[in-house]
Symmetry: C2
Subunit: 179 residues, 2 copies
């Protein structure tokens, strides 16, 4: 389907509540466990979503609208979530994600993106030319990548205890990367 910005916003506005419903007060054996060395916990992922909200989507959209492809986006710090989440509880991170997402969507409305603007090009530091439309669609798909990752991280904790049923559980066969 072609990119419909209203559909993107519909998804973006739902993610914080979905993560809150899934993760708030879930036992920490689920939320603070990862998939092995150098992988993330669900807690880390929520920190990453907050960090991306602050430094990635709206700042990059503004760069495109202001400078087009004459100025590359600032690179994204994939470890930025460590600073975001230090000393915080998962409940606090979920509230913060909900707040910064609402702020981003308010900013997006203020940018008043017109259909013509969606085709405007920007410069990604490694991918080269990308359009505003692609950036905003990726914002929503990025939420889904991390919801997909969180469901896989949680399921990983049950890899052994499901016994022979593991062959029927698609999430345990997933090799999709989500960093």
């Amino acid at each position: 389907m072609p990119h419909n910005l209203d559909h993107t916003i519909a998804l973006l506005s739902r993610t914080p509540a979905a993560l809150d419903a899934l993760l708030r007060d879930l036992p920490e054996t689920w939320t603070l466990s990862n998939e092995g060395e150098k992988t993330w916990t669900a807690f880390d992922v929520v920190g990453h979503l907050i960090h991306a909200e602050r430094t990635d989507w709206i700042p990059r959209a503004k760069t495109i609208l202001q400078f087009g492809d004459t100025q590359p986006f600032a690179p994204f710090d994939r470890l930025g979530h460590l600073r975001e989440s230090q000393g915080k509880s998962l409940g606090q991170l979920l509230e913060e994600f909900s707040r910064v997402r609402a702020e981003s969507l308010a900013e997006l409305r203020k940018l008043d993106v017109q259909p013509m603007d969606l085709a405007r090009p920007g410069r990604h530091p490694t991918l080269g030319t990308v359009t505003l439309s692609e950036l905003l669609a990726t914002w929503a798909a990025h939420d889904l990548t991390h919801l997909h990752q969180i469901s896989r991280i949680l399921a990983h904790q049950y890899r052994d205890v499901v016994g022979p049923f593991s062959v029927y559980l698609g999430v345990l066969q997933c090799a999709g990367h989500s960093s």
Copy 2:
């Protein structure tokens, strides 16, 4: 980690609200689109979860507690969701899932499963011997398999519109099966 039934119940009790927050009133181009021929939509998946709730988890737990491994579980109908969802809206299915899940968890409490019971064996029609513990852990992991699948189905609808960003979106690389 060893199987902790309270942790399983914690996850099971959160899934309906998480799916509701994600999917309710989301545009139908997201919720009624699939990943290609013979694949499911998010709508189909919610119907499947309702069907499993009615015919799989608690009925099988009761079979184990009553008959042990002397009587195999009734086979699961993988197309049973078609009957569950016929003529209904996604909003109706989400409400129904929430209701049948609450009923299942009330039934589970009534079964008053003791630590000793968790090791009791049952007979799966194709997997052979499985324990009550494995069945109940699988109930939670099955929720996660389908949350994982739904995030992948939704992301698939944006496969083209994200353009070059697709290389960074793990969910678009996922080959995990979820049927």
